[in-house]
């Protein structure tokens, strides 16, 4: 009966081969217990598969949108719109002339006084640290990395034997990331010093970059 039960569940999982189907058909003919079991299980599965889909209420989407953090702070949204929103400016000739005079004066002043805003040229490379990530997986066909630093897009890692590496230029900070093996499996860096739960059953590696 154990083999019969195994085959019954393979049928319900849609994983049976020709031999299994023959065995099940013969069993159904000759074994009333198997017939009873298969019929009962198929009935239960059919009820699940044909079950009615319950629809959410009409206001579902609107209710969600009302409860989103940005919608909960209309003042902040207003401030953001003020800073970044598009607007139409109305000019008259007097205002335009006054503005032009101010702009010309500001330009002339800026050419005579040293800039107060620090400009980094060569220093910018000093602000970033080159970090090399390594991952050992001889059997992998491809390995990529995704994290805060590349907005969770995937950057391919280079293979050297069984070792995969990538060099990243990062500013000081704390970054979470994961490796993606063969485009399918996400693996938190086993060499990371700490990890962070992503809240959905997986975890990401955490890296702290200091100058």
């Amino acid at each position: 009966m154990d083999k019969s039960r195994e085959i019954i569940h393979k049928i319900l999982d849609g994983e049976t081969g020709e031999e299994d189907r023959k065995f099940a058909a013969q069993g159904m003919e000759s074994d009333p217990e198997m017939r009873e079991e298969l019929t009962g299980l198929m009935n239960a599965v059919r009820m699940l598969e044909e079950s009615e889909r319950h629809e959410p209420p009409q206001s579902f989407t609107a209710d969600v949108m009302k409860r989103l953090p940005s919608a909960a702070h209309p003042a902040l949204a207003g401030f953001r719109d003020f800073l970044f929103g598009s607007r139409v400016l109305r000019w008259n000739m007097a205002a335009a002339l006054a503005t032009a005079v101010l702009v010309v004066a500001a330009l002339a002043l800026s050419m005579r006084t040293p800039s107060l805003i620090p400009v980094h040229h060569a220093e910018t490379t000093k602000d970033a640290v080159t970090v090399r990530l390594t991952f050992i997986s001889p059997e992998a066909r491809s390995v990529a990395v995704a994290g805060d630093f590349n907005k969770w897009r995937t950057d391919a890692m280079q293979r050297t034997g069984g070792m995969w590496t990538i060099e990243l230029k990062l500013k000081p900070g704390v970054y979470t990331y994961s490796f993606i093996v063969d485009n399918t499996t996400w693996v938190a860096d086993p060499g990371a010093g700490s990890y962070q739960d992503d809240g959905f059953g997986s975890r990401n590696a955490v890296m702290r970059v200091n100058i």
């Binding site: 569940h9 999982d13 889909r53 629809e55 989407t61 949108m65 990401n204």
Partner: protein
């Protein structure tokens, strides 16, 4: 190969990350039925399902920065909905005894009113699901109601494919027993 829907979805998610609420409304509209139906089947209560599904979308919005491009938004959302449902069930320990279900339909004989019987069977199905513990309920819903394959369910739940098959196997046996005790006939 990326499908049009995936490309479109990736673009929507990027817009959401840039605080474009309209783009998120499109995603909510697209997946609300899926999230609500799973939450309903897990909890058996319409109001609870609505709350859990809405909370799932709100959590997802807050966590969009952690969404991994290349994976399916629907799979990610499934995992959030299931986590909400698990938390809810853990707090309420929501199972009913099989005796309660058997008592739903005292008359086990043939029912001449077929339509009424079908309706009753639907209610029985939900109550039979409620009688199973969460881990069995979850795999039956994902496999046989949502129609996902074991690999995708493994990605959503974090369980291995062999473990999921064992759960589905046991869950179906339990469901069959509960339904038969409640007098649901074969065929």
């Amino acid at each position: 190969m990326m499908t049009d829907q995936h490309t479109d979805e990736g673009e929507l998610i990027r817009k959401c990350r840039d605080n474009d609420a309209d783009a998120y409304a499109v995603l909510v509209d697209r997946y609300k039925a899926m999230a609500y139906n799973v939450a309903y089947r897990m909890t058996g209560d319409e109001d609870t399902a609505k709350d859990l599904a809405q909370e799932s979308f709100i959590s997802a919005y807050g966590a969009l920065k952690q969404f991994r491009f290349g994976s399916k938004f629907s799979s990610w959302l499934y995992s959030i909905v299931l986590n909400k449902c698990r938390d809810f069930l853990r707090l309420t320990k929501d199972t009913v005894s099989t005796d309660d279900i058997a008592g739903i339909r005292p008359d086990k004989g043939p029912n001449p009113e077929q339509a009424a019987s079908a309706r009753q069977d639907r209610d029985l199905l939900q109550q039979a699901l409620n009688a199973l513990s969460g881990e069995y309920r979850e795999v039956l819903i994902m496999k046989h109601i949502e129609g996902l394959d074991y690999e995708e369910i493994a990605g959503i739940t974090g369980a291995s494919v062999p473990a999921l098959k064992v759960r589905a196997h046991r869950g179906r046996e339990m469901l069959r027993t509960v339904l038969e005790q409640a007098g649901v006939s074969h065929g």
